[in-house]
């Protein structure tokens, strides 16, 4: 499987061989660039119905851009290449016109963002905001029916006294309550794919725990595919079944959460797991670290993106490593951790 490729182009990952027709989302060779500078390269993955996939990486790894490109929400000046296919839509999402994308957003794919304060309209009652998404996509026939459905949704996300919450404005709610409203809006039209971008980073731990349970429960109930973006390994491990590890705009490792976190093959994943385990210290009581800093966007080295910080790097790493293993469990590294096969 791991045929060495000579040029970065040919090295496009064999993840591309899709994971079966049942996938709700199939991303193949996704690339995002601003002018000549590549920000995301060769990203391929699939998510099945009811499957929960985590996308982890540090800031600048391209995980949020990947999510935004699926929704056609990339900032101006950024261009996406490759293909994104969603079950029920014949065309490549990356080539769709804004009008078609607007129909898909909020109905087939929806997203919960990190900042519940900025994502809600401050001058509109939250019940109306939940109802709006159903009226726009005509999933409820009338204002009255949409308003009633909104209250039901607020109840489903376990907001106490949903009828009075529906009449409240966002500033009257706590951070956790606002994030539940966001989830209600995202799930209003029963999407096939829910994308969550760091949905609990701004929340307290007890509120975070409830929110994560709720996301798992509601997506399982409806068989919604979940793409969960976070930098917190503990959160991804408690929510997701599979995980994609991104660094420098590339997927460097993928697999079952348990396998990837207990037996990482890519040195970056290994470093990340070690650095986040605060009970793992050396004899001086110091934590394991990954040396150096994450380079800025577009400043990653060619070849293996991690080679400038990697303890195992050699001259070979100046060439882009091919994907080893299967699409479901594999890594992109010339010198993987744990046995050189």
């Amino acid at each position: 499987m791991s045929t060495a490729a000579d040029t970065p182009l040919e090295a496009s990952t064999p993840q591309a061989t899709t994971r079966g027709v049942s996938d709700v989302l199939t991303v193949t060779d996704l690339g995002i660039s601003v002018g000549p500078v590549p920000l995301v390269q060769d990203v391929s993955f699939g998510i099945g119905a009811g499957e929960r996939v985590g996308l982890i990486g540090e800031s600048g790894s391209g995980k949020s851009l990947t999510a935004l490109s699926l929704l056609g929400l990339l900032p101006e000046g950024l261009r996406a290449t490759g293909s994104v296919h969603l079950a029920g839509v014949a065309d490549n999402l990356l080539g769709l016109r804004e009008r078609r994308l607007a129909e898909i957003r909020g109905s087939l794919i929806s997203m919960v963002f990190q900042e519940p304060m900025t994502a809600l309209n401050p001058v509109m009652r939250v019940g109306d905001q939940v109802a709006e998404v159903m009226l726009l996509h005509r999933t409820q026939p009338s204002r009255a029916r949409a308003a009633a459905a909104a209250v039901e949704l607020l109840e489903r996300v376990r907001l106490p006294d949903p009828a009075s919450i529906a009449r409240a404005y966002p500033h009257q709610l706590s951070g956790g309550q606002r994030q539940r409203v966001m989830l209600a809006i995202a799930l209003a039209n029963d999407p096939a794919l829910l994308i969550c971008d760091e949905p609990t980073t701004a929340l307290d731990v007890t509120v975070q725990a409830q929110m994560l349970d709720l996301i798992v429960e509601l997506t399982a109930e409806r068989g919604t595919a979940l793409l969960f973006i976070t930098h917190d390994l503990a959160v991804v491990a408690s929510v997701c079944q599979r995980v994609l590890v991104m660094y420098g705009g590339r997927v460097v490792e993928a697999g079952d959460v348990y396998d990837v976190f207990t037996a990482p093959r890519h040195p970056y994943t290994q470093g990340l797991v070690a650095a986040s385990d605060l009970s793992l210290v050396d004899d001086r009581g110091r934590l394991r670290t990954i040396p150096g800093v994450v380079p800025g966007a577009g400043e990653f080295p060619d070849g293996c993106v991690f080679r400038t910080r990697c303890p195992r790097a050699t001259a070979e790493c100046e060439r882009t490593p091919a994907w080893s293993g299967s699409p479901a469990r594999g890594f992109a590294c010339w010198h993987p951790v744990g046995g050189d096969q």
């Binding site: 731990v205 725990a209 930098h231 976190f261 990340l272 797991v273 650095a275 009581g285 110091r286």
Partner: protein, 302 residues
Amino acid sequence: MTEPPKNAAAQVAPASPVEPAATGEAADVVIAARGVVRRFRRPRRSLLRPGPVVEALRGVDLDIRYGERLGIVGESGSGKSTLIRLLAGLDRPTAGSIRFAGREITRASERSLKFLRRDLQMVFQDPMGSLDPRMKVRDIISEPLVALGHPDARGRVAELLDAVGLPAAAADRYPHQFSGGQRQRISIARALAPRPKVLVADEPVSALDVSVRAQILNLLMDLVEDFSLTLVFVSHDLSVVRHLCDTVVVMHDGEIVERGPTADVYDHPTHPYTRTLLAAAPTLKQALAAHRARAVAEGRQG
């Protein structure tokens, strides 16, 4: 699993602060807070009535000893930030007393607080918000020295940059030219400039990436040891506090609900709120154990 309450209370007792009624404190205490209350008045909601009063701190007693690494944990609104603002003399309590190295700071004039500005320094959560974008790193780090009339501010800047692991050339650059972790190193260098005795850090690593977080935590540990600092570390991240601190204070609704050696509080929490907090915090080990259990239940071996 849980200790009988009596037993557990006895365990924590030795670490508890001296009797709240006592006015004098032991010689090894650097900060002593007694009955500290802080009320804020919210903006009025009606023309006829004054705004409601929020009690952010409801009578807090706290002793911090020299060389202690104290963690303050609690959720937003628990009063932890209000408390450290008072300890740092950035705000005045509504009632109660705070003594720093034996001197009352709650009613002192700003002019007479010069010793506090030298001996206690702070590192904030957001290094972008706490560093002036129009000042060069050299000026940022030497600003507290200039204010205190330090004779060789320039020389000290080079020393400090070296201590926090930044190249000397960093002095001539601006904050925006650095990454989040490097900016936090600059904040720490500025805080260390006047050779403080106490370093107060308010969520200094919660805005940082995992790999950078480990670097900054190691740096803080090195500096605390090398400069014999007393560390007051505020965080909502319980695992960070467990790693870094020897004593922990749990705050809830403006009160300290539990205090003791970190290992004791984490392994045998006595207050129900502490238990809730510990149970809610996700840990990689527990999550992976759950994955393992599920895989075994599904009959998959591996």
